[in-house]
């Protein structure tokens, strides 16, 4: 290295190397490909020849004309909203109960057990849940017939199948969000609750006026991150358990796109789906940031 460089120049070179090398890898192998889908969606790339032709909006017209694609968009949103609506409140209430209710002495047992599924590869969860859902020997139908109810076609009925998919995702994520919210709830200083208690605030009031506002940041952050995880989780469940069926009833965007690649080798259309997925994701993130984010409270 040049010895006449000053200290400031050394610093500058050092920082440049520290930023440029990781940034290069990150952009080339992750971020640019993700956004390049916006471009390839306008081409007829078939997976082999790199000699691609510009086809304009052709791919987009084709996928929007496909009823399976429209179903996939609706299911994609259903999966996200279903988890946020059912799993988050359940996990949040349980988190409050497990952190603030000293009478539940076994709380760390629940925490450790419930969290475990979120470390288990989706591949295994999917295989195990296929047994749970099996119409003849599955756990649910065995239980239903034992108490005298009609067995349900968990995966073969187009009305039920999305709920079955949703249940797997909730089953896996419940413990994750429980622990996530518990960390936030236990961070709230005890004296705030004590002051509220002295002022006569009930448990419910304490929850809505203290716990929820003070953890709102964490809740919205979880909503934000789940946009991304719902894509991957949903894909794993749909790709292995239902394969999009029956009759595309459980197709979601990511599984639709993946089958476009592996079955039809239609990379152009797959990119178009990917681009729609990306725009949808960023749109959802924007809505959450604009509508749900309030000013955060310092404590």
């Amino acid at each position: 290295m040049n010895k006449t460089l000053t200290k400031a120049q050394h610093d500058k070179r050092f920082i440049l190397a520290m930023v440029a090398i990781p940034l290069f890898v990150y952009l080339i192998f992750f971020l640019i490909p993700c956004f390049a889908g916006l471009f390839f969606g306008f081409t007829d790339f078939g997976g082999y020849s790199l000699n691609v032709k510009w086809v304009g909006l052709y791919n987009y017209k084709k996928i929007f004309a496909d009823h399976a694609f429209r179903k996939a968009i609706v299911n994609h949103l259903k999966l996200y909203l279903g988890t946020v609506v059912f799993c988050f409140p359940l996990a949040f209430i349980s988190a409050i109960a497990l952190t603030r209710n000293r009478a539940l002495k076994e709380s760390s047992f629940y925490k450790i057990l419930f969290f475990f599924p979120s470390t288990v590869p989706m591949l295994i969860i999917a295989i195990l849940w296929m047994v749970m859902y099996n119409p003849s020997f599955g756990v649910f139908n065995t239980f239903l017939t034992a108490i005298g109810l009609q067995p349900v076609q968990w995966l073969a009925s187009s009305k039920v199948v999305m709920w079955s998919v949703l249940l797997i995702v909730i089953w896996r994520q419940f413990g994750f969000y429980l622990v996530y919210f518990m960390a936030a709830v236990s961070n709230i200083p005890q004296d705030i609750y004590e002051a509220a208690y002295i002022d006569g605030a009930s448990d419910v009031q304490q929850t809505f006026y203290i716990t929820v506002p003070l953890t709102w940041d964490v809740i919205t952050t979880a909503m934000l991150f789940f946009i991304e995880s719902s894509v991957t989780l949903g894909f794993n469940v749909v790709y292995i358990v239902t394969r999009g069926g029956p009759d595309n009833a459980s197709e979601i965007l990511s599984s639709y796109m993946f089958s476009m690649i592996t079955e039809n080798l239609d990379y152009g259309k797959a990119s178009a789906v990917g681009a729609i997925m990306l725009l949808l994701t960023l749109g959802m993130a924007f809505i959450i940031l604009k509508v749900f984010r309030r000013e955060s409270y310092e404590y």
């Binding site: 990781p22 990150y26 296929m130 047994v131 592996t262």
Partner: protein, 281 residues
């Protein structure tokens, strides 16, 4: 804070116990079935195995062969190991610059990383495939390593930046005054201090890489380079085919074993790693 058990406590407890059962059932069934033959499984899902010793041996050896676990284990160890190292190294470099140094365009770089947090790697599969073919990296272990490393960077940086911001600046300044170079400060002071963040991020990445089969399906075409999760795909249940549940569950047990072990030994760190970012700061 309540200390006495009231009606509310019991209602909560009922829900928690029901959920406990729902969590345990699939795993209990997995372990139980891995010790049974297929006939025994169909005779009764919850019946106890008749001849566990011999069946376990035959199920596990059949699963090991069918999933090609021997060579897949080796591939996975190489790929996961290298990807972990690369990803953590790149992340700590850029996080250090963002958290503790001033440079032009810092905000843009930070925003680019945050966008990555919200972007699923699935939307980039096609362009990544083109890139891999273009660079001649298709069907190499290297492409998986670098793609895994790049994909994990937003999350790692998210953990590391907040962690690095919490380290007092005096340590660095003192070392600088003593004449230590930038790279020495980074290598001998910052990296050792960042160890907790490495553990959190590393656990998350390990589980993520271990489970991933999508990149494998996309970028690997020869069987000898398959990862363990791609071997697991052999056991995917395809309707119309007769499934040997004993062998399938044995494969699940093999696949899950390292993660189960990690969880039993380090559940605190695993929970911390996966939910990092939930704590204010």
């Amino acid at each position: 804070m309540k200390t006495k058990a009231g009606v509310g406590t019991w209602l909560t407890r009922v829900f928690l116990i029901l959920w406990t059962i729902l969590i345990i059932i699939p795993f209990a069934m997995m372990f139980l079935t891995s010790a049974k033959t297929n006939e025994e499984f169909y005779a009764g899902v919850w019946a106890l195995p008749k001849n566990p010793g011999a069946t376990i041996a035959s199920n596990f050896s059949a699963a090991w062969a069918k999933g090609n676990f021997g060579s897949n284990f080796l591939n996975t160890i190489i790929i996961v190991g290298c990807a972990l190292f690369l990803s953590l190294l790149l992340s700590v470099m850029i996080s250090y610059a963002i958290a503790r140094k001033e440079f032009k365009g810092k905000k843009t770089v930070h925003t680019l990383l945050l966008i990555g947090l919200l972007t699923s790697c699935m939307v980039g599969l096609t362009p990544m495939f083109i890139l891999a073919r273009f660079l001649g990296l298709f069907n190499t272990r290297f492409v998986l390593i670098i793609l895994f490393a790049a994909r994990a960077m937003p999350f790692c940086c998210f953990i590391m930046i907040s962690f690095l911001k919490s380290i007092p600046f005096e340590l660095e300044e003192a070392a600088m005054i003593d004449g230590a170079s930038n790279s020495r400060v980074f290598g001998q002071i910052i990296i050792p201090l960042t160890r907790p963040a490495f553990v959190s991020a590393g656990i998350f990445l390990f589980i993520d890489y271990w489970s991933d089969y999508m990149y494998g399906l996309m970028f690997i075409s020869s069987k000898s380079k398959n990862t363990i999760s791609m071997g697991m795909l052999q056991f995917r249940v395809v309707s119309g085919f007769k499934i040997d549940w004993g062998i399938t569950c044995a494969a699940c047990v093999i696949f899950i074993a390292p993660i189960l072990l990690l969880y039993v030994l380090f559940h605190k760190q695993v929970m911390g790693g996966l939910t990092a970012g939930s704590v204010k700061g």
